[in-house]
């Protein structure tokens, strides 16, 4: 006769079965598919057979090189000056069909700086993808702390007994329930360069002193605009998680603190914050993972432009895999993203581990 534990275990497996099958079919299997496809030249649709290409997709995405160029000198060995600065040979003449630099063929400038007399170029095989990585990191580094902080602030505000507090909760939570596509479309109108709400608002409060800005059409403001909108959209979700954490803290601790005469800050610092420890770990990891998956806002609002200022890793994966029918390239990007998110999650877990 089997023990009670084993019997209920079998029932548990039966109940978990449907979900387990779906997750295996739609998450785990595609995951291994992506890894396998990233080593091939698989197309979305093609009459050609699939071939194994090794690491070619990764080399194409991540290939980088450093090139030091000396200024142009005339016959006498003097540096040729142009507009008050030494002239350098054009990068294009070195990286295109130049037999002296076969390893640089097809590379492009990612950034450059002057080092003494010569100029150092950092070249990349896929500048757009590197830009996407940098943009995604900027997005995560800003969104994770700001969104978590704002959400905690909101949670503290609505975690009190007051008439009508549920109305506030509903308002803060509303953007989470609305589809991100709809939210993005609405914010496109808000950010409109001529007659958008934001420009009208800024014009009205400054009596016309602030000229209208094309928030999404300007490379220097586009990513910031998307960051602000994304923080606003999902802050309510994390507010609810913080709130659930706040409500697990025993009221007796607060009462004890009040009797001891703790100030508001001391109450937060020594009762609330330690009580939210596990919630904080969860919120940070969830925000980080969601932020790395930034896609819908980009797809609806900017398509990665202007001038690649809003390219992101997931947008590139889908643009290549589906838009340009290059499934292998898109898969390689997904694998790179997986490695990035996995390492960051491990680091976060290590940093927030229970110290005994």
């Amino acid at each position: 006769m089997s023990s009670k534990f084993q019997r209920s275990n079998r029932a548990g497996w039966v109940m978990a079965g449907p979900a387990a099958v779906l997750i295996a079919g739609f998450v785990i299997l595609p995951f291994f598919f992506a890894i396998a496809l990233s080593f091939t030249n698989q197309r979305l649709i093609s009459p050609n057979p699939t071939e194994f290409v090794g690491l070619a997709n990764y080399r194409q995405l991540l290939g980088m090189a450093v090139l030091t160029v000396d200024p142009v000198t005339d016959d006498a060995g003097q540096v040729v000056m142009k507009d008050g600065a030494p002239e350098y040979p054009s990068l294009r003449s070195l990286t295109r069909n130049n037999p002296d630099y076969p390893h640089l063929q097809g590379m492009r400038e990612w950034s450059s700086f002057d080092w003494g007399q010569s100029r150092v170029y950092i070249l990349a095989r896929d500048v757009v993808f590197l830009t996407a990585i940098v943009n995604t990191f900027i997005f995560v580094i800003i969104v994770a702390p700001v969104q978590a902080g704002l959400a905690l602030g909101l949670a503290l505000l609505i975690n009190q007994r007051m008439r009508g507090i549920n109305i506030f909760r509903a308002f803060y939570f509303m953007p989470v329930v609305v589809s991100i596509v709809v939210v993005s479309l609405l914010w496109r109108f808000i950010y409109d360069g001529d007659s958008g709400l934001l420009n009208n608002l800024l014009g009205a409060i400054s009596f016309g002193a602030i000229p209208p800005v094309d928030w999404l059409g300007n490379p220097s403001t586009a990513l910031g605009a998307i960051i602000a909108m994304s923080i606003w959209q999902a802050v309510g979700f994390h507010m609810v998680i913080w709130l659930s954490g706040l409500q697990t803290i025993s009221p007796t601790l607060y009462e004890a603190g009040a009797i001891e005469g703790a100030s508001k800050w001391q109450t937060f610092r020594y009762i609330t914050w330690p009580g939210l420890r596990n919630t904080a770990v969860l919120v940070l990891i969830v925000i980080t993972m969601q932020a790395f998956a930034l896609f819908a806002q980009i797809d609806v609002m900017t398509n990665g432009g202007p001038l690649d200022s809003t390219q992101t890793i997931v947008f590139q994966a889908i643009e290549r895999g589906y838009g340009k029918q290059d499934i292998s390239g898109g898969s390689a990007i997904s694998v790179i993203l997986f490695v990035i998110v996995l390492s960051i999650s491990l680091i976060q877990r290590w940093l927030t581990r229970e110290r005994t």
Binding site: P47, L216, G305, P306, Y322, D326
Partner: protein, 418 residues
Amino acid sequence: MTQMKWLAGAALAAAAWSGAAQAQTTLTMWYHGAGNEVEAKIVDQIIADFNASQTDWKVEMQSFPQAAYNDSVVAGALAGNLPDILDVDGPVMPNWAWSGYMQPLQIDEAAIANFLPGPKGYWNGQLYSIGLWDAAVALVTRQSYLDELGLRTPTLDQPWTKDEFMAALEAAKASGKFEYAFDPGMAWTGEWYPYAFSPFLQSFGGDIVDRTTYKTAEGVLNGDAAIAFGEWWQGLFANGYAQAAQDPADRDSGFAAGKYAFSWNGNWAAMNTLSQFPDTVFLPAPDFGNGPKIGAASWQFGVSASSQHPEGASAFIQFALQDKYLAAFSNGIGLIPPTATAAAMTDNYKEGGPMAVFYDLTKAQALVRPVTPGYVVQAKVFEKALADIANGADVAATLDAAVDEINADIEKNGGYGH
């Protein structure tokens, strides 16, 4: 008892109905024009006429919104789930034919002998698709603007040169009457960019891909002609003749609101403009050195490779090629009829009609986009390059990047069968 009778009658009716349905084999059809009532009415009429005209086939249509149509077909093909008849955007057809989800049409060549070249979709020497209309782009302005600015009216024989065109933009800008002198249509992202703007590049002497081999873009998309095109294109925005980031609403109604002096727009928008400004004129594309060029080919009909009844599908397509339907599309949504006889039956394209100029433009200037399966990717690369250049990216570096991406894609696909 009456109830029994009623039941028996219903059963009999059902049997008769299913018998009638069995006599005709059903052909399924996908169409990209969901949401456009006039278009749907004409297509429905053709289907109804065809179903009534013979007893073998019965066509059933399913409409998709245009923005989701291509993705639906690709997804349908992946799932092995395509209809018998599908419509396809002209430049995309080679990709679908090469990928193996379209088959050549079984249509009598004599039936399309009088067609304009644009609507005829050939790949590998075989006719895969045929259009019931063509589309053309013209430089839209008003006669009164031309008179005020003191500009010569360009003709098909004598289009504006690059210098004349730039002088016209300068005059419009200097007049101070317009927000921008020129509206190229930057808000219409997607296929509009290669369709509307690659003819400028071709007029400069460049192209998206080398059409002699279709194996490389080196030298044509980043050669001297292409770089001259890129510099000119960047200058349009840098010098304030046009705006790089355009509000979609301005694209739709900006010209009618007087914001732009010249608008680069298609014949499908011409009817609205004409009703707004009766003195609207449609000018031929400027000649940038290698002859004036505009894009050709619009949506066309074809037969899927998985169709069990290609002869029925082809019969339907051939049935739709009658002049009266070609004229109906033209009258309904302002498209260019592909034959001269159909054009004569229309209000707008008959001799002396207000839009007859588009028919002549298509005949004189139209050039199809590169006929290669790689076009689908090349179009996206070209679009991004033009958007980046308009936003101020380095011209030569951007075009080099586009060339490398196109060449890498061609190589990855084993030359796309060329």
